[in-house]
């Protein structure tokens, strides 16, 4: 029956969430926005390319003065240039529209700006003057070097392949950091997309006055667990919806978007790191979800819950602000504090795991801590739901709940058959005679 009810709750929660227009509106809003941005980028690139082509094709004449003696006249001539000794006249000709452009090369073009004067051709086309002025300099310099390979070297245009070693083994480098960091991205993405739903998931029973019917039909643990499982499923669906436009963009518009060609074989996939990353993400998500659900159970409105939730969100972000400290000194007190404090642990540990500074023992402790604490918070969330959700209009303080529990424990032992109800039989007592 418990399994049946859990399945029923999960099915109900998932179906009704995925069936809501609002959910899809909110979920698709970001991918659509990304799509619009991508479309604008593609369009912008196409326009820019066309302009560039037009610029390349459209020749214009210019005059120049050269105080540096770096300019090769043949290069300048080939690009439409003609040297002049009267810069003032040349600039006046440009101002009057009789000459397209005039460049003033200073004695040291590396420290003093080259002055470019041109007839205004609009925001995009005006760039051609600077481009040609730069090309004249670059080609003149290359010609002086003579060897094209040396010229490329002088430009610093050289590929480097670095190999580093750690404990006698080849270190993975950046390509080894990215795969486990993906779990951190997924963690943040899912948490912030589902935060509102987490907060309101238990509030709904209270706001709709369904609590009593639920509590007499369904074990509250099954209800809360079902809600958390459904949040995982919904989060997974949401992540898929988010990833889809990214994949489509990469596969079909990679060249248009000037995206780098990602060679999966260049990534290093360390199974242990990936498993730890996944466990930290799941454990962290479980802890934050159960905590958020607990907050929702004791607060009367989403606004009240939102205030408490903000504090939780801050705890998630603090490790990111302290990232330089965590990276540079992973065994330092700050990094250690953030690694083991439950609500900063997921982000800190995922960061350290990706960077390879999280030891096996530390990973084991943090993962265990996250899962154990999730279970504990789940129990507290159930208790809060039982007590808080019946207080339809009031916010229930933790003091009230735990003071009540303490008093009950002192006077009434719980019986296995009545976990929710502390009732005891008074032996030998007959019903009191009524008036």
């Amino acid at each position: 029956m418990k399994q049946h009810n859990l399945r029923t709750v999960v099915s109900f929660e998932v179906r009704r969430t995925l069936g809501k227009k609002r959910f899809w509106f909110m979920t698709l809003m970001v991918p659509i926005a990304i799509g619009i941005v991508l479309a604008l980028v593609v369009l912008g690139n196409i326009v820019a390319d066309n302009n560039f082509d037009n610029q390349s094709e459209s020749e214009f004449s210019f005059t120049y003065t050269d105080a540096s003696s770096f300019i090769d006249p043949s290069v300048a001539t080939a690009l439409g240039g003609m040297v002049t000794t009267e810069p003032a006249k040349a600039i006046a000709a440009v101002r009057a529209g009789k000459q397209d452009a005039h460049f003033v090369y200073p004695a040291d073009p590396t420290t003093t700006p080259t002055e470019v004067y041109g007839v205004d051709k609009g925001l995009f086309e005006n760039g051609k003057y600077s481009d040609i002025a730069t090309q004249v300099l670059i080609r003149s310099a290359q010609d002086q070097i003579g060897d094209p390979a040396l010229a490329r070297l002088a430009q610093g245009n050289v590929p480097i392949s670095a190999t580093t070693f750690t404990e006698g083994k080849e270190a993975a480098g950046l390509m080894g950091i990215i795969p486990p960091l993906i779990f951190l991205v997924i963690f943040f993405l899912m948490f912030f997309l589902l935060a509102n739903q987490m907060l309101t998931s238990t509030m709904e029973e209270k706001e709709n006055r369904v609590t009593e019917m639920i509590l007499t039909t369904l074990n509250p643990t099954a209800l809360i667990t079902g809600k958390i499982i459904s949040l995982f499923i919904v989060g997974f669906a949401q992540a898929l919806v988010f990833l889809l436009p990214v994949l489509v963009g990469y596969v079909f518009f990679r060249s248009t978007l000037s995206l780098p060609n990602i060679d999966l074989s260049s990534f290093t996939f360390d199974p242990a790191q990936l498993i730890v990353g996944a466990l930290l993400a799941v454990g962290g998500f479980a802890l934050f979800t159960s905590t958020t659900v607990a907050i929702g159970a004791v607060t009367p409105t989403a606004k009240d819950a939102g205030n408490i939730f903000s504090g939780l969100a801050v705890l998630m972000f603090i490790p990111l602000y302290a990232a330089p400290l965590i990276i540079s000194d992973p065994q330092g007190p700050v990094a250690q504090l953030f690694t083991y404090f439950p609500y900063s642990a997921p982000v800190t540990a995922m960061l350290r795991n990706a960077l390879g500074s999280l030891t096996g023992w530390e990973a084991a402790i943090v993962v265990t801590e996250l899962f154990l604490l999730s279970a504990l918070v789940l129990r507290i969330a159930v208790r809060l739901f039982q007590t808080g959700s019946i207080q339809y209009n009031n916010r229930v303080s933790l003091k009230t709940i735990f003071a009540r529990s303490k008093a009950l424990k002192a006077t009434q032992p719980e019986t296995p058959s009545a976990r929710l109800m502390v009732a005891q039989v008074i032996p030998g007592s007959a019903p009191r005679p009524f008036k």
Binding site: T8, N208, T411, S417, A418, R419, M421, P431, K435
Partner: protein, 307 residues
């Protein structure tokens, strides 16, 4: 079927406090299997608290609260139909979705729950509302849906907390009919109500709760006898003798009102009058209505609440 005197609900020495304030001091009563039991009391007298404690929603500070010999757990929910005082449904969902969901939680298969729900909606005139969102229904229509959710699992025990609250007369009649149906089907009904005509029409036994204690408990006639006893109006000739069993409270020519001072039977009073040579032309026992008893018991409290 089990004996009708067997207690399905057994409450003994129930005590409940909130923040140090005693709400229920020491309450004991039984609801027999198959009977309809009225749970009466003024606002704030602890009726809803008692029901919530009985159903495990509140934890009592003391006493025994059993249904069918043991404390209630949600696993027993498939045998229970509970209409709480605070009512509601998932408002953003369709009627059929909500009914099917609760049906499944009460142990029905999805198909059985959906079929039952459609039949019920047809019966209560909401056949075309299955796919309508709950919050698009009127208050009365939502009440009907809620009632359907309460009884859809053919419950052995029906607990109704102010079932007619917010019902219009038509829906109230429908509710009464359904309760009677359930009663005929063998369900035990425990209902909290302020509607005395409902009590007189439906309830086999009642309890009156005041200040966390039972003020009266028994069948309706027994409770009427407990409060003010019986008054007798008589038209007579002769001289009414004095008696330890009654007082002559009104006398006007050949008419008199006798108020019984103990539990003496009306027929014994009549026999006593006749034996004393009184020519009794009419002899009409008059009992206090439950309404009058309610006012008598809770008059001051109700006024205080209302003030």
């Amino acid at each position: 079927m089990a004996s009708s005197k067997e207690a399905l609900v057994h409450i003994e020495h129930f005590k409940m406090e909130f923040a140090g304030v005693t709400v229920i001091e020491d309450l004991s009563f039984d609801v027999h299997r198959g009977e309809t039991f009225g749970f009466l009391g003024s606002n704030g007298s602890g009726k809803t608290t008692t029901l919530r404690a009985l159903l495990g929603i509140y934890k009592p500070n003391g006493g025994t609260l059993h249904i069918d010999g043991r404390a209630f757990t949600p696993q027993d929910g498939s045998r229970l139909g509970y209409l709480p005082e605070e009512r509601g449904l998932y408002k953003k969902e369709s009627v059929l979705t909500v009914m099917t969901y609760f049906g499944e939680l009460k142990g029905l298969s999805k198909k059985v729950a959906a079929d039952w729900s459609m039949n019920y909606l047809e019966r209560v005139g909401l056949g075309d509302k299955g796919k309508t969102r709950v919050d698009k229904l009127s208050g009365g229509q939502q009440q009907k849906v809620q009632l359907g959710v309460t009884i859809m699992n053919d419950p052995e025990l029906l607990i109704l907390d102010e079932p007619t609250k917010g019902f219009d007369p038509v829906n109230r009649r429908l509710l009464m009919d359904i309760i009677e149906e359930r009663k005929r089907a063998g369900s035990t009904v425990l209902m909290v109500t302020h509607q005395m005509e409902e009590v007189e029409r439906l309830c086999d036994r009642i309890i009156l709760l005041k200040d966390g204690r039972a003020e009266a408990y028994g069948t309706v006639p027994e409770v009427q006898n407990q409060f003010g006893g019986t008054m007798i109006k008589t038209h007579y000739s002769g001289e009414i003798p004095t008696s330890p069993h009654y007082e002559v409270t009104t006398r006007d020519r050949n008419y008199a009102e006798l108020t019984l001072t103990d539990t003496a039977d009306e027929s014994d009073i009549l026999r006593g009058l006749v034996n004393a040579g009184v020519l009794v032309r009419s002899f009409t026992p008059i009992k206090l209505s439950l309404d009058e008893i309610f006012v008598q018991v809770y008059g001051e409290q109700s006024q205080a609440v209302g003030a």
